[in-house]
């Protein structure tokens, strides 16, 4: 029953992917200069492997893309997605979450099937 609701949710959210999200406009050349290159404090050590060049310094927050602040946050696992779908309804899942939920369901099903077969 959960599966059919998930499939329905996945189909509903499956619209044509938007091509090329509008790039976030860079703030018009700000008057302030980039932070001074202080190797060890602001530079990424060992990053530069070319003879000519220095370790890149880290730029102010605005110069990095928005998604960067989420890369270290793990995406919800299968169990969490199941809980979310059951408490908030399958429509609360984003397209990617719905896809992952379906994959997780399929994997769990295969695993359980294999365990059952192995036990015999």
């Amino acid at each position: 029953m959960l599966r059919s609701r998930c499939v329905a949710a996945a189909r509903r959210t499956c619209v044509a992917p938007s091509r090329g999200l509008a790039k976030k406009a860079k703030p018009a050349a700000s008057g302030s200069a980039a932070p001074a290159a202080e190797p060890g404090v602001n530079a990424v050590r060992g990053c530069n492997i070319l003879k000519e060049g220095e370790d890149p310094t880290m730029k102010p927050d605005e110069e990095y893309p928005e998604w960067l602040w989420t890369i270290h946050i793990p995406k919800p696992g299968y169990e969490e997605l199941v809980a979310k779908a059951e408490t908030q309804g399958p429509d609360s899942l984003t397209h990617d979450e719905a896809r992952w939920l379906l994959r997780g369901y399929a994997k769990a099903r295969i695993k359980e099937h294999n365990v059952r077969r192995a036990k015999k």
Binding site: I49, L50, K51, P56, M58, K59, D61, P65, W67, I71
Partner: protein, 159 residues
């Protein structure tokens, strides 16, 4: 080695293997020498070509090399960026990764440092072809776990 791969040669691909070689430091000694010699490849040719191609890198930087040997004893090779773990350890100031990753944390990196490392990895043609910069960043952030490095958002710590 099954399948046809376009390499513009009449001879067949007989071996495909990976090496790690210090930039500018290829020499006929083992292990480089033995890996190539076993397949009947000309060591001096490889060393000269490799050292020329890696002339712009800091000497000794461990570059990953993919070598393809052909049945007529010629070869091709691609020079790729060093392993991601090399960059991670350097950026975090580590000699070695954690002995028990997942339990023992030995370093931290901010997402900005991950980004800069990802830009270096993006210079590798094969990676650039298959992954977006965001994908590379996520991949590196996830890899930090295997080395015992924690990734954090520096904005939460700005003073």
């Amino acid at each position: 080695l099954g399948g046809w791969r376009p390499h513009g040669r009449m001879s067949k691909l007989t071996a495909s293997f990976r090496l790690t070689v210090g930039a500018g430091k290829a020499s006929p000694q083992p292990p480089v020498g033995s890996a190539l010699g076993q397949r009947g490849l000309n060591l001096m040719n490889f060393c000269k070509a490799f050292n020329d191609q890696t002339a712009q890198y800091i000497v000794g930087t461990p570059m990953q090399v993919q070598v393809r040997a052909f049945s007529d004893r010629t070869f091709e090779f691609d020079v790729k960026t060093p392993r991601t773990s090399y960059f991670l350890k350097k950026a975090a100031g580590l000699d070695k990764g954690s002995a028990t990753p997942g339990r023992l944390t030995v370093g931290r990196l901010s997402v900005k440092e991950i980004y800069e490392i990802a830009k270096i990895k993006q210079t590798d043609a094969q990676i650039a072809r298959s992954m977006s910069l965001e994908g590379i960043c996520r991949s590196i952030a996830a890899q930090c776990k295997s080395v015992g490095i924690v990734v954090y958002d520096p904005r939460t710590e700005s003073s």
